[in-house]
């Protein structure tokens, strides 16, 4: 069972890992919501070093308003970005108050 479901609010962690990491800087520490579950895949951070990357890790697409990613975003307020994030880079976001 994947840990998150579509619509769940999640925050992207900053694990500070070097190497072949698939989580770009601009989404770290940012909160978005799960758009879909993509399945489980071998961890690319291990595959890059010739290791099997198993057990496979759950992968999600996470949806962000652009204005939450870039405080000075110059486009429309409704613009968004979606990006894939592996489970170990996510934590549940604090509930909205």
């Amino acid at each position: 069972m994947p840990r998150f479901s579509p619509g769940d609010r999640v925050t992207v962690l900053d694990l500070g890992k070097p190497g072949h990491v698939r989580i770009p800087w601009f989404i770290r520490h940012r909160t978005g919501r799960i758009e879909r579950y993509c399945g489980a895949y071998p961890n690319p951070e291990d595959l890059a070093f010739g290791r099997p990357g198993l057990p496979a890790i759950d992968l999600y697409r996470v949806h962000f308003p652009q204005t939450d990613l870039w405080p000075d975003y110059g486009g429309a307020a409704s613009d968004t970005l979606e990006i894939e994030v592996y489970d170990h880079w996510l934590e549940p976001a604090e509930p909205l108050t």
Partner: protein
């Protein structure tokens, strides 16, 4: 409270470092690849035909394959529904096997425009569309499309009205993406092969549109 990020760039250690396009710094690896290839040929572990076969396989996929999927979706609403539900399975129906990853198809509508970028490298549905265009790999496109997508689209001559959402898809991991462009207004009356000819590579990435968006 989560702490603020250090910066927006993996170059945060030196944000003033100039961005260098192209393969500068990769000469060593190019030379090593060439040397290894030569040794494998000399030791008869590899034959020249083996390399030719791999290159031919890499070059076989092309934009027309993606265009045929789009034209089919424009002609057949039930195919379109299957394509959006499971891009890889719907591509297979048309005879195309997506080898490198799962295909996610994102649909442009009157209110939504999608554009694809891979910020970290150059992920692209190569087994369907072939090799990506040079600008897709450029650091300029990769850095700016997530940061100022409307400015990038404008440079492609693609203007998106402010009341149409621009959604950027960062192809950063195990999915590959295809934009389903909005069909031309007269699509219903046009033949399949004619519609295939309407679709360009840039439309499948989202930097070009078939017809301008109309504000309501």
């Amino acid at each position: 409270m989560t702490p603020e990020p250090i910066g927006y760039s993996a170059d945060a250690v030196d944000p003033s470092r100039p961005v260098v396009e192209g393969h500068e710094g990769a000469d060593y690896y190019a030379l090593m690849t060439e040397a290894l290839h030569k040794i494998l040929l000399e030791k008869q572990i590899l034959a020249p035909a083996d390399t030719d076969r791999v290159i031919a396989a890499l070059e076989a996929p092309n934009v027309t394959w993606g265009a045929r999927i789009v034209a089919q979706a424009w002609k057949d609403p039930s195919y379109k529904a299957r394509l959006i539900a499971d891009g890889s399975a719907a591509a297979r129906e048309m005879g195309y096997t997506i080898k490198e990853a799962k295909l996610v198809v994102v649909e442009n509508t009157e209110r939504l425009h999608n554009v694809i970028v891979c910020t970290l490298c150059s992920c692209y549905p190569r087994s369907l569309l072939g090799q990506p265009p040079w600008w897709y790999i450029s650091k300029n496109y990769r850095a700016r499309t997530v940061r100022e997508p409307r400015a990038v689209l404008a440079e492609f001559g693609t203007s998106i009205p402010a009341d149409v959402e621009v959604r950027v898809h960062d192809s950063n991991a195990d999915m590959r993406y295809l934009v389903l462009p909005k069909a031309p207004a007269d699509a219903d009356g046009r033949a399949f092969e004619d519609l295939v000819g309407v679709v360009t590579r840039n439309m499948l990435i989202g930097t070009e549109i078939v017809e301008p968006y109309r504000s309501p």
